[in-house]
């Protein structure tokens, strides 16, 4: 007599964790590839270092925990984390920034909480924020666009990434958001500050910025593809972007000399990447549609607030971390209505 029989159901769908992770990687590749194209060999080296160290740290943590290592390494979650960290770094950052970032993300952002599925904060954002605060110089040194064959050659790029050679001032500059914020502090106003700004170039990504975040277009395409594949749902991206759009348009109408327009906001910084790939992270976002809408709206509000009135030019990392901490609260109070019951959980009235 078998006292431990197998329970129903006896069939299952073919969706697996691996498939999900690999599709996310696929969706990120166009933007990443474009970033490497824009910034040259250094970007490529930095990406490789970051992703490989992410895998390394993941393997070490899994080994320390005991249990299966190979199947978890192959599930792709460490690669996704590594890629996301790499894409938020300045393209000419030294190699150790990538390693420290991966380490922070994998160890402090994921395994300290118990591994896959247990973390409270988004690991990539945790790493980015920690790096930003700890190494402000390296994390805010932005460089000009120098497409693959026109910029530094491979040897010079290698030295930039691995030998800590100082980056010449000729090729550095600020991002749109950084430039505008500095300008405000010097009592300059819009739209003068945006005299060199091109909305079109910003959209396709031909601008200074992080390794993989510049191209709004490619990230948007990747994100929409991911939604069509059923990997992410529309609630968070739409609510986040809509909130930022509404708030920025509102304030821009009130005072266009101090507030950027919606188009500038949507195409600058990490907004698109965060909206589609970071805020939508399964583990750290709410479980229900309404919860996700609240989460996205909250992120949008915080991003706008920090960008407009905060000390840092870019607020997405902090906004996401703050909303991550609210996710358990959202999940506790926002639950679907159960069939046959009211929202309070009491049975509905019979006919």
């Amino acid at each position: 007599m078998n006292i431990k029989p197998i329970s129903s159901p006896h069939v299952s769908s073919s969706r697996r964790v691996n498939d999900i992770m690999y599709k996310v990687i696929l969706a990120l590749l166009p933007a990443l590839g474009f970033g490497i194209f824009l910034f040259g060999w250094s970007a490529l080296f930095l990406t490789m270092v970051t992703v490989l160290s992410a895998l390394f740290f993941e393997a070490v943590c899994l080994k320390l925990k005991g249990g299966a290592v190979e199947s978890y390494l192959r599930d792709g979650s460490a690669i996704v984390t590594g890629l996301l960290v790499a894409m938020t770094l300045p393209p000419y950052a030294p190699w150790w920034i990538g390693v420290v970032g991966s380490g922070l993300a994998i160890i402090l952002g994921k395994h300290v909480y118990g591994g896959l599925g247990q973390n409270l904060f988004n690991p990539a954002m945790l790493a980015r924020v920690a790096l930003l605060i700890s190494f402000p110089i390296e994390m805010t040194t932005w460089v000009n666009v120098s497409p693959f064959f026109t910029g530094l050659d491979i040897l010079e790029s290698f030295k930039i990434t691995f030998s800590g050679v100082e980056i010449s001032d000729a090729i550095t500059g600020a991002t749109t958001l950084g430039f505008v914020k500095t300008g405000f502090s010097q009592a300059q106003l819009l739209p003068d500050l945006l005299s060199d700004y091109s909305g079109f170039l910003a959209f396709i990504g031909w601008e200074r910025g992080s390794l993989g975040e510049t191209s709004t277009l490619l990230i948007l395409l990747g994100g929409i593809w991911l939604m069509r594949q059923g990997i992410i749902q529309w609630f968070i991206p739409v609510s986040l972007l809509a909130t930022v759009t509404v708030l920025s348009t509102l304030f821009n109408l009130i005072d266009s000399t101090h507030y950027l327009s919606a188009w500038v906001h949507l195409n600058s910084g990490a907004l698109m990447l965060v909206a589609f790939f970071i805020a939508t992270d399964y583990v750290t976002s709410p479980n229900t549609p309404l919860g996700q809408l609240i989460f996205g709206t909250g992120c949008g509000v915080l991003i706008f607030v920090i960008r407009s009135w905060g000390g840092y030019p870019e607020g997405t990392g902090f906004a996401v971390l703050l909303m991550n901490s609210v996710t358990p609260l959202i999940d506790h109070y926002i639950r679907p209505r159960i069939y046959g019951r009211t929202r309070d959980g009491k049975p509905i009235e019979g006919g």
Binding site: V11, S12, I20, Y282, P289, R337, G340, G350
Partner: protein, 496 residues
């Protein structure tokens, strides 16, 4: 845009591979060779088991009463064929544990001689109570799998003056096509059964809900019910679990049955379409429920088809009839693959609840190893009831069963949609079934602890009472002796 947040027409669910093509266009096989022995359990329904009325060695006719129903919620059991009663014994039940159940064993004589029941001349003019009595007497129970005694439901419907009878012809489980074939071949009889049910409940109208992947069945039912305007045949979208009665009701009428309540609370009664057929047979032909159509399918079956099987036939015989390749067989299931239960072996009888026998191959059931929950909330999207499977499972894993109940564990219908979609392949439904069982056991243990306390207290009181009485007796004896001694002393004094 916010419509999805409140009262969707139907929520959640999954679209699984149907596997119905293998069996949906073959006629029901009625040539299953009569088994030498039939094993009829006395409990094939919800409620109290039936009590055997036959004795070992007795000769019974086909359709003769074997065991009568006990109490209000029960159903009788009849002989599926004529023969001799071999034994009334414990025999393995068609259950994952294969634990024994009281079973009546008949050795068939091959004559198939029917017990002569009087057939009513005008079945459609019988009194409603009479119809329900006949249905109950025939042992008709819900053949969708719930096996609730149908007569009880019909009586309840009449008492509550319901306004709609919903006939559930969803059959949303993959592989199963028994209801589909029944509708394709016997639609006229089914419609008669529906009319009888309506009369038995004094209900004005009926709706038949058929999933839209069964177009032939839909056409047949439409044609058969065309002349009866009180019966409407409607197509519903194919999406598991559309056959969940509450889901279909919400889709068709927009109303929800209150939690912890019944369909009669909102003026509806729901019956399975095969039950309607059984009602027709019971009332118009006076034939008790002694056989059912079973879908035999799966990767390890050579000739998958629907078979009309006498109740009590061993599943191994049915499988042999359809041909099973034992090397391919990986799992044997009674019912559908989503909610059916695994059977350790096939030497168990076909009962009223056996809608399907699935011999699944390794490819059919392949499942990769279990990974941790990544909180993707696919299960939340899939749950038709509106629960949070990931949260309930994590509470149960941590042995916090009461927290799982707060999240709505008691409303779970174990449909399996959540386990189906989980990319980490976590056995969610297994957690919920374990937790429900554990809570029930806990309740039983608490009850027993209270009972024990009462018994112990009674005993203590009894002991104290005995002790008090003993002391009382001793005191009386001492008093008597003292009195006697005093009297003697006094007598002595006087004498002196």
């Amino acid at each position: 845009m916010f419509k999805f947040l409140e009262n969707p027409k139907f929520r959640g669910g999954i679209h699984a591979e149907e596997h119905k093509a293998e069996t949906c266009d073959k006629p029901i096989a009625t040539n299953l060779p009569l088994p030498k022995k039939l094993y009829i359990p006395v409990q094939q329904h919800v409620g109290k088991p039936a009590e055997p009325i036959v004795k070992v060695g007795e000769h019974v006719l086909k359709g003769q009463l074997l065991a009568y129903s006990q109490g209000t919620i029960s159903a009788p059991v009849h002989a599926p064929s004529s023969g001799v009663i071999l034994d009334v014994q414990d025999f393995p039940a068609p259950h994952p544990s294969a634990l024994p159940i009281r079973t009546i064993v008949i050795e068939t004589d091959g004559q198939e001689k029917w017990f002569k029941y009087a057939v009513p001349e005008k079945p459609f003019e019988l009194d409603p109570e009479e119809i329900c009595l006949r249905v109950g007497g025939a042992g008709v129970v819900g053949l969708g799998g719930a096996v609730f005694p149908s007569a009880v439901k019909l009586n309840l419907g009449r008492k509550n003056q319901i306004h709609t009878l919903l006939i559930n012809a969803g059959e949303c489980e993959p592989y199963l096509t028994c209801d589909d074939l029944l509708m394709q071949e016997r639609a006229v009889e089914i419609v008669s059964g529906i009319r009888l049910m309506l009369r038995g409940m004094n209900a004005p109208k009926a709706i038949v809900g058929i999933e839209d992947n069964k177009s032939n069945a839909f056409k047949a039912m439409q044609a058969a019910s065309a002349e009866f305007e009180q019966i409407r045949v409607v197509q519903v979208p194919t999406r598991y679990p559309m056959g969940w009665d509450r889901q279909m009701l919400r889709y068709l009428t927009g109303n929800e049955i209150p939690a912890d309540g019944r369909a009669t609370d909102i003026g509806v009664v729901i019956h399975n379409v095969a039950t309607a057929y059984a009602v027709y047979q019971a009332v118009c032909l006076s034939k008790p429920l002694i056989s059912r159509v079973v879908t035999v399918s799966g990767g390890a079956v050579s000739k998958p088809q629907n078979v009309e099987v006498p109740l009590g036939t061993l599943m191994s015989e049915v499988l042999a009839f359809c041909g099973v390749e034992n090397e391919k067989l990986a799992r044997l299931i009674m019912g559908g693959p989503m909610m059916g239960e695994v059977l350790p072996h096939a030497d168990v009888p076909v009962i009223k609840a056996s809608s399907g026998i699935l011999a699944l191959s390794h490819e059919d059931i392949f499942e990769p190893e279990v990974k941790p929950c990544i909180r993707c909330s696919s299960c939340v999207t899939a749950c038709p009831v509106g629960l949070l499977p990931l949260e309930m499972a994590s509470r149960i894993k941590a042995n916090k069963l009461d927290a799982a109940v707060d999240l709505g564990l008691k409303d779970c219908i174990s449909c399996g949609s959540c386990s189906y979609v989980c990319p980490s392949n976590i056995p969610l439904v297994h957690y919920f079934k374990f937790a429900s069982g554990e809570l029930f056991s806990r309740q039983q243990r608490e009850h027993k602890a209270e009972q024990t306390k009462r018994l112990a207290e009674n005993r203590t009181h009894r002991m104290e009472r005995i002790k008090a009485e003993a002391e009382e007796d001793t005191r009386k004896v001492m008093e008597a002796r003292a009195a006697r001694q005093a009297a003697e002393a006094k007598a002595q004094e006087e004498n002196a």
